[in-house]
């Protein structure tokens, strides 16, 4: 699918199966190690287990929404610096601003452009300190 191979662990959380499967395929093909979660509770446990380099998640999910997860990750010393990309259908300015206030690094609206998403993922992961 893509030319260059990258690296890094990514947790993708979304309750829409097509988004989850498509993103997993897209990111794996681009050379990333991907773990998926279909609700907020699983997302939190997968993040704890996998210790990823990046989280891509939806805002509206069962059990814990994206706002809660972002807040929880930012409040924990182990995940305070973990990059978070929000991928959501919500396009109200207030939701976008709230995500950034809570500490999200990027916000991508659905329907999303797959190539643009890959570019943003690469850019965020390239900022990691060497050896991380």
């Amino acid at each position: 699918m893509t030319g260059t191979k990258a690296g890094g662990k990514i947790v993708v959380a979304d309750d829409d199966p097509i988004v989850l499967k498509f993103l997993a395929a897209l990111l794996k093909d681009a050379g990333y190690e991907v773990t998926t979660a279909e609700d907020g509770e699983k997302a939190l446990s997968r993040i704890r287990e996998a210790q990823p380099d990046l989280v891509i998640m939806d805002l509206v999910m069962p059990y814990h929404d994206g706002f809660e997860i972002t807040r929880s990750l930012r409040n924990s010393p182990a995940t305070r610096q973990l990059p978070i990309i929000i991928l959501s259908m919500k396009d109200r300015e207030s939701d976008v601003l709230r995500c950034f206030e809570l500490g999200a690094d990027d916000y991508i609206r659905k329907p999303f452009n797959a190539l643009e998403l890959l570019a943003r993922v690469k850019k965020i992961l390239d900022r990691r300190p060497a050896g991380a």
């Binding site: 699918m1 893509t2 829409d16 097509i18 988004v19 499967k21 498509f22 395929a25 897209l26 093909d29 659905k110 329907p111 999303f112 452009n113 797959a114 190539l115 643009e116």
Partner: protein, 418 residues
Amino acid sequence: MTQPFVLSTAGVYDLVVNVLWTVSTVFLFLLVVIIVNKAWRESREGFAERRRAEMEPALFRYVMGTEPVEKFIPSGVSRRDWLVLEKVFFDLLRVARGNVNTRAREAFESLGMVDHYAGQLDSRRWWLRAEAAEKLGLMASERPTRRLIEAMTDPIPEVRIRAAQALGGIGTPEALRPLVGALRDAGRWSAIRVGGMLIAAGDDAVDVLLEEFRNLPDAARISAIDIFGRIKSLRACRLLLDLLKDPAPDLRARAAYALGMIGDPTNAGALAGCLGDPEWSVRAMAAKALGRLRETESVPALSAALSDPQWWVRANAAEALRGKGGAGQDALLHVLDSDDPYAAQQSVQMLQESGVLDTFVGMLVSTAAGEQTRALGVMAKLVKLRRIDLLTEVARDHPDRMVRQRLAALLGLPAPVA
């Protein structure tokens, strides 16, 4: 003489047994039918899920690649696979855009799905025609445009609406022209619904509407003007500015409103000129539109409009001034001295709603040079305008005791309890 029919005990027993037997046989038959149907449906769904799981990785690779879809489905597509494949692509169209959409649409064409559904538009069953129109809309291929235009005259409204939506999704001038035409036919088409489709088409619809505008009747022109405003099309500004001089007051009013929705501040001069229009509806819409523009050039004209004989114009002008920052606020304060009681009261209301009066009340105890004097001046004007009710309320409820005391003294009220 005929003998009366008498049923023996054994006869009654036989009858009951026969009825029970018949009823239970019917129930048993229905039960078997339901179970078989459920099993068949579940097996079909199971098959579809399995095929989907098998096909999805290849289809994901296809949409992110450049090679033809046939290369990713070497075994060909059976009718059952076709439905699975269609579902995967429709799901992808829902969540992704850009290259993924283009590739999915190419697959619909090369696998013959577009032609299949275009043919289904001729079905005798209306629900199949409606399904075809809807799916062609999702596929957004230009190829069946002519067939969809024909479907806009279908006897069934559901088919017509879905065909129109599909044409809106295709978005080419050829596809959009019939939608603009539908605006003329208010008896057959809901202008709001067609308008929504054209708005969804965005800038592509503007070009067609601009081309067709002069040929539309007034009612359709009004819809078109609203669409320009909702799309916020800068390309429509020239036409809308011309329409501010149209002999029809409805068109002038709608054009003014649309210019406000578009929000280009360079149109402020023309809109300010409309505040002198002989029709009050045009003046009201011009004032409202000016309130949406980020500029202050119109402040003097809006201040003058506070004395308009029509309440709606005054209210919109005051509301517009409220949004003009310092210049608008100064104009509203200036109007407190006006001889026109309507304008002055409108100004009080806007100053109150925007929190400016609260600021002046707070300044009553300010130590900064000149602030107290300014605040006292504004309070005196409110007293002169008989807005003692407003000040009495503030004198009672203000959180700062000093402010409460100052206001009570000004109004001659008993000193507030600490």
